[in-house]
């Protein structure tokens, strides 16, 4: 039952929406009913899927880049206080400046529109991963470090056996935040930068539909973006569960 709760609530909400649309005589070009949105997804299926794949590609590439670069930087910062003190302010500035304010600049500086959008998504997704991973690395227990010291473990062994596994839960909760942010960054980037190498992503579909007053198609794009976000988030949750269920206290076993 508990697994069905949230889908049921969403279903009830959609049915209510449909009923209210017909009973309150709402104009379809203001708020189309779910059936009309579904129909729009169906009739524009191919072009919407192409758009989805473009947005998804940017999102996932940005996420992969954030994971790699944040891990690398976190490890460097863990071993070098100097580097952390020198670099951290730069990353904070990048984080607190709204991406929508930097995106036009990126668009001017970077010719390739795919790369420009990617940079936008990366800049948004990167920071939570970095700060969480650093917090995770630094939270390693003193006793665990002493244990490594007793056996004269090398830096690589220290990372492999103790420090990185210790940071894993922190990294994964950062990843949950960053996955959503990468999608947001990709959408915002596309809004400002435009079609990616001549193809429209989901964000540009929204702009197009606005111009052409195809409101159901606009809703269809928004729906697809939300669904993508939900799927990505749950995927990360699943990965997180599979990795941590054996040993982490956040997954308490019930016998």
């Amino acid at each position: 039952m508990s697994k069905l709760q949230s889908p049921l609530i969403i279903l009830c909400f959609l049915i209510l929406w449909e009923i209210l649309f017909h009973t309150l005589n709402i104009k379809w070009y203001l708020l189309p009913p779910p059936t009309m949105i579904l129909e729009s997804i169906y009739s524009n299926f191919f072009s919407l899927m192409v758009s989805l794949s473009i947005t998804l590609k940017v999102t996932l590439t940005a996420l992969a880049a954030s994971i790699l670069i944040s891990l690398l930087m976190a490890i460097i910062f863990y071993f070098s206080q100097f580097m952390e003190k020198a670099m951290m302010p730069v990353t904070v500035i990048l984080q607190v400046t709204p991406i929508i304010a930097i995106a036009p600049l990126i668009s001017i500086w970077v010719d390739n529109s795919e790369m420009a959008t990617l940079i936008c998504a990366f800049l948004v997704a990167f920071f939570p991963l970095l700060t969480n991973t650093i917090a995770g690395l630094k939270s390693t227990e003193k006793n665990h470090l002493d244990l490594m010291k007793l056996y004269r473990a090398s830096k690589i062994q220290l990372l492999r056996y103790v420090v990185l596994p210790n940071a894993l839960p922190y990294f994964l909760s950062g990843l949950k935040i960053s996955t959503g942010l990468a999608l947001i960054g990709a959408i915002v980037g596309e809004f400002v930068i435009g079609p990616i190498s001549g193809h429209s992503g989901l964000a540009y579909r929204i702009i197009e539909s606005g111009y052409q007053l195809e409101i159901p198609k606009m809703f269809a794009s928004v729906f697809l973006i939300s669904i993508t976000g939900i799927v990505l988030y749950n995927l990360v949750r699943l990965i997180s569960y599979l990795i941590l269920r054996d040993w982490h206290s956040s997954y308490i076993q019930q016998d």
């Binding site: 665990h144 007793l150 056996y151 062994q157 103790v162 894993l168 054996d246 040993w247 206290s249």
Partner: protein, 274 residues
């Protein structure tokens, strides 16, 4: 022969007689921690002989743990020296395999199961898998962990976790085992059970054990020698010798046991008054 308090002359003559068996000698060790104005340890002179079961007893905060950590190199003394006569060690005395440390808490890595936790030191020391497995399963048998290899630390009770911790310390086949109040978090029965097993393992493996505790009974039951400490600053007050006492399972219920416990208790009291 029963318990006796060793005088300086006694210690000197024991050193001469047992010169061959000397494993470690701490000479006038002092330690002052950064940011503090008083010595945590002052003028610690202490000898460890082969196959000793040596206890360091004292009130909380007297620096017992610091002595152990200085011995295994986790903290550096402010002055003084540790001498490891090399003849008793196969490789260099600094070889981490020769010394093992059992922490106050089990200190297991939660992301590794029992088998992986025990294997971890061997992996760091780059032992090949085949000989590692042989050692691991021997130790798992010895400490009674058979069948628990795949368990994760959060699935284990306190006593079981401590067994894994002891197994991890033993798997490198050390000469000397340093134990820092290892059973203080366990209940009375578990504590006794594990104490007995430590004695058994010590005998079987020809181990030398340095054992830190605040429990008088534990120290009397386990040790051949006891260093009684006083605090502020941490100093060795007195050395007691128990060697030659037969310690069978019922020893802890005999009048002698209580007599000896009283001697240690009195010594601790005098140490606090001085």
């Amino acid at each position: 022969m029963t318990l006796r308090v060793l005088t300086d002359t006694d210690r000197q003559s024991k050193l001469e007689v047992d010169q061959e068996k000397l494993i470690a000698q701490l000479g006038s060790i002092s330690k002052r921690f950064a940011g503090t104005s008083n010595n945590a340890l002052e003028n610690i002179n202490l000898e460890v002989f082969q196959k000793d079961f040596l206890s360091i007893v004292g009130p909380s905060g007297c620096g017992k743990t610091s002595i152990l950590k200085i011995m295994c190199g986790l903290i550096k003394p402010s002055s003084g020296s540790i001498n490891w006569p090399t003849s008793n060690f196969q490789n260099s005395p600094e070889n981490p395999a020769n010394l093992s440390f059992v922490f106050q808490e089990p200190n297991l890595l939660p992301w590794m199961n029992v088998y992986e936790n025990i294997k971890m030191p061997l992996k760091i020391l780059k032992e090949d898998n085949y000989s590692a497995d042989e050692k691991i399963y021997e130790i798992i048998d010895l400490v009674g962990l058979k069948g628990f290899e795949g368990y994760y630390p959060k699935q284990l009770s306190g006593g079981m976790s401590m067994r894994v911790s002891i197994a991890r310390a033993l798997v490198t086949q050390p000469k000397v085992l340093l134990m820092d109040e290892p059973f203080s978090a366990l209940d009375e029965n578990r504590r006794f059970e594990l104490s007995q097993e430590i004695l058994k393992i010590k005998k079987e493996k020809n181990l030398t054990v340095v054992y830190v505790t605040h429990s008088i009974y534990e120290s009397v039951y386990l040790s051949d020698r006891i260093y009684v400490m006083q605090s502020h600053p941490g100093r060795i007050f007195e050395e007691l010798d128990f060697s030659g006492i037969d310690k069978n399972e019922d020893y802890r219920f005999t009048p002698e046991f209580y007599e000896q416990a009283k001697v240690v208790s009195d010594s601790l009291k005098r140490a606090q008054i001085v």
